[in-house]
Assembly symmetry: C2
Homo-oligomer: 332 residues x 2
């Protein structure tokens, strides 16, 4: 039997409204404040969020939808976001939809039934149609990592084009001639952007673009290994490779080890994400680092501001810069 505000009222001799006022930051006479605090401590009282939610029509729960929990990029951001929101009294309900649109639709349905106050999502479905009902219900949506056209909601992304551009530029400036790339699925936004950045950098420096230097992976370890193999087979003159996500970076490394190709002597490499892996590799890898903590902070900040000023959704798009963390995988 948990204590209720009634118990606190009784114990302090005050009315319910006074206790409620105290609980919600209203002004209460100093003397009474102390009495209330003593009673709360003694009875170990904590607001019943279900009762509060029933009255206020706010659950203080946020739905979080991601394509894959077992993915370092997703996991780290979500972990931070959960912390940030908890600090502000919000709980998160995390749903892994396994890159499956059907499941994604199901969890949105579920979260809506659960009366979440808002949704954070890395969408699997490309058009954003699933989010329309959420927005229609007046609940804020913040999209991470993907771009949704024509959907009026906030978006937090990194400069994917810039990330790839910088990596290729780095290769060019250190004298590399035949620069390859292992990219992601062509239907995924981040993969498209990174590909554009690669092409842009080549064009800018008058390198002719030849598609045999580009191998399309699928953002998995196995796919990365396969793509690396393909690149090596087709290009005897390859002297640098940019790999466009973490899992494929692992795969590429495995393939290079198998073929006993020395980095950076025989091939220069720039990978993506996971500083720990980059440092543990030998030689340590140069990698594109995404600002995970900042992404999480922006997401939390935006969502909280929407939550606290209902109806004032500015639909801002925040684009965060990445940076290149230098290791020893680039030939001088």
């Amino acid at each position: 039997m948990a204590a209720t505000i009634k118990d606190i009222a009784q114990k302090t001799g005050l009315g319910l409204a006074t206790i409620s006022s105290y609980l919600n930051g209203g002004s209460v006479r100093e003397k009474n404040r102390l009495k209330i605090e003593a009673a709360i401590a003694e009875l170990d009282f904590a607001v019943n969020e279900m009762a509060r939610g029933l009255k206020t029509n706010r659950s203080k729960n946020i739905g979080v939808i991601i394509p894959e929990l077992d993915n370092t990029f997703c996991a780290r951001i979500i972990s931070e976001v959960t912390d940030n929101l908890r600090t502000h009294g919000y709980a998160t309900m995390i749903c892994d939809c396994r890159t499956d649109e059907k499941r994604e639709a199901d969890v949105i349905e579920f979260l809506l039934q659960r009366r979440v106050d808002g949704i954070i999502i890395m969408p699997t479905e490309k058009t954003g149609k699933l989010l329309k009902q959420v927005l229609a219900a007046g609940k804020p949506v913040v999209v991470i990592d993907r771009r949704l056209e024509h959907i009026p909601c906030a978006q937090v992304l990194v400069d994917n084009q810039g990330a790839a551009y910088d990596a290729v530029l780095r290769f060019i400036q250190s004298g590399h001639k035949n620069i390859g790339m292992i990219g992601g699925p062509t239907d995924i936004y981040t993969a498209q952007e990174r590909y554009k950045g690669y092409q842009k950098a080549l064009a800018k420096y008058k390198y002719s673009f030849d598609k045999k230097y580009f191998a399309c992976g699928d953002y998995t370890i196995t796919g990365g290994a396969r793509a690396m193999k393909e690149l090596l087979q087709n290009n005897a003159d390859l002297d640098a490779v940019f790999v466009a996500n973490y899992e494929m970076t692992v795969g590429a490394m495995i393939e290079l080890n198998e073929q006993e190709i020395k980095i950076p002597e025989q091939l220069s490499l720039i990978g993506f994400d996971n500083l720990e892996f980059a440092k543990a590799s030998n030689p340590s890898l140069s990698v594109v680092i995404q600002p995970l903590k900042e992404i999480a902070e922006e997401v939390s900040r935006i969502l909280l501001s929407y939550l606290e000023h209902a109806g004032e959704q500015t639909c801002e798009t925040v684009i965060l810069p990445t940076y290149l963390k230098e290791g020893r995988s680039i030939r001088k």
Copy 2:
């Protein structure tokens, strides 16, 4: 304005109790059932869990506490558990406590305030003292992956000793003489058990145990690499190594690649977890596989049964077997 049962009652001309009865699986006249279902569909009605929870004193929320979200073992189990529970109408609130006891205490406090109906935890704190208040509140607790003595709650683990035993046995049977192990932190239950299994297998086959063949890592990539290096430095005659978790397996592989040690010609290796990584490696790794899906199923099954039969906590301990997935990393 979401529809309420009042709306349904009005639309169908029935009383509130009838609607509620229908919603909770009570018997309703066929004719009325159809009317109710039509009204629910038309008004897009869904039970308000906050109102229901206020009345029934059950939130239909489950707290999940893990030491690290960015860990393939945790992430995969949690993802499955969340799915299983959602199917039964429960939402999960996942909290990553970063292997930090202070944070662990904080999230338990938070979850309790949120009136979760039960808790699933991979504990960081060793004695289980934080869970006492949860149990005292009459809420079921299911512990995963760690053993808590003297705490009356269900536990789901794998046969860690057996896993290590089998791995070492495999080495012995294929004629290896000097079998090393890279273990985890000595204060973590799974690490202790795996170490015991290693020693037991050696003893059983009259191999003398020499602690120079054992290197203590810390369950991280970097720690695994360091431990591998140490093992190689101290033992010129080393011909096999068992690595006791996934992250350290990655680290060990990195170190072996650096030193250009051929697997399995120069050294045989058995790793842990993550079949995808094991397959992508070259040569493909033999690894101990934990039955993640089964773990998740047991956890969900036990928790749901406690939830549905309050007070009947049998405190069962389920120990699941692991199996050795053969790759090509063991010399014949």
